[in-house]
């Protein structure tokens, strides 16, 4: 088994036990500095709400850059089902009820049917992974997701040899997701991954952020995260997982095939037809931050490039 060595972690990034044990008083002291939008590097983790999930930190998946704050991660979202502005989802998430929640498993696999979310999650111990998230709109964040490997999630349903792709479908219920009354996109939101992408060690099923259950605007109660792809590849509020032989038709490619493809790998050399993908703006960098050069596969090239060897990434964007 190849253990990936990650030398991103500096000793200064590891929270000292004293700070950890006194985190509540640390938070109180930091409330005075909470409005520091203009100053990067603020201690995001200490200011985040207290975790309510049991998890371990996976030291293998860390990022050297500072974490985005809870406010940024839960207050700046693309979730058109809850409104099309960046602040709409947080304002409108009240109608989304993440419990009770069932997930339907279908397609080319042995274990099919409707399952309660609790039963699906039970066998999987939670871990925290810090991933970069790069939106196709050319902004990015660094987010501590809480979840478990997608590989393990899918293996439990025993996909057969005909399963070449996995399709993830989001909830379709305008009473819970009132933005779906507006046909800005075709509902329900559908996304998919090739089976090797879905079973790649990086692919992650997410149930929380900062060790807290996902808020509605981040895709409660269950969402996916493939960090080497543009953010729209990650379906939120998943209600159906289907193993398919044919490539799923993903919603953004249906909306505009010229601008959004199926693979959507982060690629600074392939521009969006209307804007450049060469650089990105890191949220929380403040007014005077320089744009960050976008990395191939969002900086995960050493881990994922092999899956696309020989593929024309300009054609399969």
């Amino acid at each position: 088994m190849l253990i990936h060595k990650c030398d991103d972690i500096r000793p200064s990034e590891i929270t000292s036990e004293a700070v950890y044990r006194n985190r509540r008083s640390v938070v109180a002291g930091l409330l005075g500095a909470s409005a520091a939008v203009a100053f990067p590097g603020r201690p995001a983790r200490a200011a985040a709400p207290v975790p309510n999930l049991k998890y371990t930190v996976n030291r293998q998946y860390q990022v050297a850059d500072p974490l985005n704050t809870w406010e940024e991660i839960t207050g700046y979202n693309n979730y058109y089902e809850l409104g099309t502005s960046k602040t709409d989802p947080a304002a409108n998430a009240g109608t989304l009820k993440p419990r009770p929640w069932t997930v339907e498993i279908a397609g080319e696999c042995e274990v099919r049917g409707r399952f309660n979310l609790e039963d699906i999650l039970k066998p999987h111990p939670l871990e925290e992974r810090v991933y970069r998230l790069r939106c196709v709109e050319a902004w990015s964040m660094v987010i501590p997701w809480t979840g478990f490997p997608m590989k393990d999630f899918l293996a439990a349903f025993k996909p057969n040899s005909k399963a070449k792709y996995v399709e993830f479908t989001t909830l379709h219920d305008p009473r819970q997701l009132p933005g779906q009354l507006d046909n800005v996109l075709e509902w329900p939101y559908v996304e998919g991954l090739r089976i090797d992408e879905a079973t790649h060690p990086l692919a992650f099923m997410v149930v929380g952020v900062y060790g807290r259950e996902l808020p509605g605007q981040n895709g409660a109660p269950l969402r996916t995260m493939a960090p080497w792809k543009y953010g729209f590849k990650n379906g939120k509020s998943i209600v159906k997982v289907r193993f398919t032989e044919k490539q799923p038709a993903n919603t953004w490619a249906i909306a505009n095939a010229r601008e959004y493809g199926f693979y959507a790998n982060v690629n600074p050399t392939v521009d969006h037809p209307r804007w450049s993908q060469a650089t990105e703006r890191r949220i929380g960098g403040g007014l005077f931050a320089k744009r960050v050069p976008t990395q191939m596969f969002n900086g995960y090239a050493d881990q994922v490039a092999g899956m696309y060897a020989g593929m024309d990434l300009r054609r399969y964007f």
Partner: protein, 226 residues
């Protein structure tokens, strides 16, 4: 001695109000920047909420204010033709110059904050991205209008001044295109601007076409004579 018109009597009141209204977006934006940076104590009502992506929000405030002011300047003539009130004309120059100022601010935020003076990327944008090309063209076209906005220039150019300032139709159109093309999916806001612009330009087109028809039809010409 001619009686003082209502407009003249209240000029001391409405002129400053117009300036305050035009400056308000800038003041709120500056307040928002100071508030977010923790510099000084800015009351909440004087600070625009810049959110977690302040640069984008500032671009939007400056850009939308430019478009808003351009649309208001385009509404002056139709309103004058509808109400018979010529006093609005006095405001048009003020509004137009403010529109230019906000367009410059929008461009400055783009160069200095959005691209952080990355000249390589700026040059690439200026020839590769359609919405930037159109926006920059509109800004360039505003310059001669701003330069010739003075009374002295109006006297010097006479009829040519009117021809030059008709460029505002193209500028407003390019501005709306600039907004429309860069919008990812939800076109509801650009559609509102496009509808208003169509209304304001369509009005002029209709008036122009109607007066030409009037000039051509003999029976209408007879009616027009006292």
């Amino acid at each position: 001695m001619s009686p003082i018109s209502v407009e003249q009597r209240y000029r001391w009141l409405y002129k400053p109000l117009v300036h305050i209204a035009c400056l308000a977006p800038l003041l709120l934006a500056v307040g928002g920047v100071l508030h977010a940076s923790g510099i000084g104590t800015v009351p909440a009502w004087l600070a625009a909420d810049l959110g977690v992506d302040p640069v984008r929000r500032l671009l939007g405030i400056a850009g939308k204010t430019t478009l808003n002011l351009l649309l208001v300047t385009l509404a002056v003539t139709p309103l004058r033709q509808l109400t018979g009130n010529a006093h609005l004309l006095r405001l048009r120059r003020t509004l137009g110059v403010y529109a230019f100022a906000y367009a410059l601010l929008h461009f400055a935020v783009y160069v200095g904050l959005f691209q952080a003076f990355d000249w390589h990327e700026i040059v690439k944008d200026l020839y590769k991205r359609w919405y930037i090309v159109l926006g920059f063209t509109a800004l360039l076209m505003l310059i001669p209008l701003a330069v010739t906005s003075t009374n002295a220039m109006m006297r010097r150019l006479k009829r040519r001044w009117f021809a030059l300032h008709r460029l505002v139709y193209a500028i407003a159109f390019l501005g709306v295109c600039h907004y429309w093309i860069q919008t990812k999916k939800d076109l509801s806001q650009p559609e509102i601007y496009a509808s208003l612009l169509t209304l304001l330009l369509g009005w002029r087109l209709w008036r122009h076409w109607r007066s030409h028809r009037r000039a051509g039809l003999p029976q209408l010409r007879e009616e027009a004579q006292p």
